[in-house]
Each structure stands twice: as structure tokens, then as C-alpha cells.
């Protein structure tokens, strides 16, 4: 939760410290890292520059495509609601 607070306050600056990582092949999706925990966030660049937390999980292996697809689906849902 501390990292979420920092995400709110520092934004993309966390990329430099490798706490935030862009998701490969996905625009505007980032992975917030804290130990084994991962939270996929959507970076909404429209007014206000928001980070939308989509889904969180414990990283177990190398393949996490399912989680990313789920996040992509959720981000679309978020956009359609706007």
C-alpha cells in the first residue's frame, strides 16, 4: 500500500527506481512491484493523469499473460464507463 501512495505522489518517477515497469506490448499498462506482489495499473493520460489500479496478484511464475489480459479487459471497461 505504501507503493500505491508513492505511485499517487510520484507517478512515473517510480519507473526510474524500477518499482514500476511498463507491461510489454501493452500501451499505458504498468506493473507496480513490491516483493512478490504485483498490481497492474492503467495510466490514464486524459485530464488529471490518473493511475487506475486494475488487478493485483502474487507473482508465481514467469507467465502472467492471463493477469495482463484480465487487466486489459478491466481497463477497457473503465474506459467505456467514462
Amino acid at each position: 500500500m505504501a507503493k500505491i501512495q508513492y505511485l499517487e505522489e510520484c507517478g512515473l518517477e517510480l519507473l526510474g527506481a524500477k518499482m514500476l515497469k511498463p507491461v510489454k506490448g501493452e500501451n499505458d499498462l504498468y506493473e507496480l512491484k513490491s516483493g512478490q506482489c504485483r498490481v497492474i495499473v492503467y495510466y490514464d493520460t486524459r485530464k488529471g493523469h490518473k493511475f487506475v489500479l486494475l488487478n493485483g496478484f502474487l507473482k508465481k511464475g514467469r507467465r502472467e499473460r492471463g493477469k495482463i489480459d484480465e487487466a486489459r479487459f478491466l481497463s477497457r471497461e473503465y474506459l467505456s464507463r467514462k
Binding site: 500500500m1 505504501a2 507503493k3 500505491i4 501512495q5 508513492y6 499517487e8 505522489e9 510520484c10 518517477e13 517510480l14 526510474g16 527506481a17 524500477k18 518499482m19 512491484k33 513490491s34 516483493g35
Partner: protein, 150 residues
């Protein structure tokens, strides 16, 4: 319906166990960001820093991600190698790391790298900080040369 992160956080912080965990995570993240920025500005690579300290590059990476839990002495060692020292301060647990007044005060008072105070906003802030430090003691450049020649 619309809960904000801050409201949730405030509620969760009522729980002492959570507050302890959160405090630890905040301290680590804060230091991590400060270190990452300081190292980048001093133009020292993780590997170089690790060599100077006799640790591994992966440990430095861990520190910069906020996943490691160094001792205060270790932090001092690390920063000294970069020609900096730790300056501690306390602020309310839930407060913006980017408090403008804090930045202003720090800029005017010749500080080094503050962990608990706030991670510096951008490079220019640290340069101001380093610059003001310069006036009171050795130049940062000399320290860096000393550090890298060790």
C-alpha cells in the same frame, strides 16, 4: 460510493499491525527513491556502487526497489560513498511527499538527501541541495573522485 485511496488508508491505519507494516514499507520506499535519484545524479552505476561497498549489484537494485531493509549504518556507508550523508526528519505518516513548503525550506537550508522528509522532486532540486552543501564543506566532485579512486 467513491472511496478515495487516502480514506481507505486512514481507516486501515487504525490497525496498529497495519500501521507498523505500512511505516516500514514507506521508509524503505522513501529511501529507495532517494538513493536511486542520488546515484543517478552522481553518475555512479549500481555495479560501481556495489564494488565500492563490497556488495553485489543485485543488492543495490533491491535497495532501489525498496525491497531491502538496510541498517542505518549501511545507509550512511552508501551515502558517504556518493559524497552525501543521511539527514533524517519526521513528518505526519499521511502527508504528501511533495510538500511545497518542505521543498522550499530544504532548498534554503543546505541539506543533503533527506529520506523521511521527501524524495527530491527532480534533478534540479538535488543540484540545489548539493550546491548549498558545497558552500559549507568539500565539493561534491572532490568527494566523488575520492570515492571512485578507493
Amino acid at each position: 460510493m467513491n472511496r478515495t485511496f487516502k480514506e481507505d488508508l486512514e481507516r486501515e491505519l487504525q490497525d496498529v499491525e497495519f500501521a507498523r507494516e505500512f511505516g516500514a514499507a514507506v521508509a524503505k520506499t522513501d529511501f529507495a527513491l532517494t538513493l536511486a535519484k542520488a546515484r543517478r545524479i552522481c553518475q555512479v552505476t549500481q555495479t560501481d556502487l556495489a564494488n565500492l561497498l563490497g556488495t553485489s549489484q543485485s543488492y543495490i537494485a533491491k535497495l532501489e526497489r525498496g525491497d531491502a531493509n538496510p541498517t542505518i549504518g549501511r545507509i550512511g556507508e552508501l551515502l558517504a560513498v556518493l559524497g552525501l550523508r543521511l539527514s533524517t526528519n519526521t513528518i505526519p505518516l499521511i502527508s504528501s511527499v511533495y510538500s511545497e513548503t518542505e521543498i522550499h525550506r530544504a532548498e534554503n537550508s543546505g541539506f543533503h538527501v533527506s529520506t523521511l522528509l521527501f524524495p527530491l522532486k527532480d534533478i534540479s532540486d538535488l543540484e540545489i541541495a548539493v550546491h548549498s552543501e558545497k558552500e559549507t564543506s568539500d565539493t561534491k566532485d572532490t568527494k566523488l573522485v575520492e570515492a571512485s579512486s578507493r
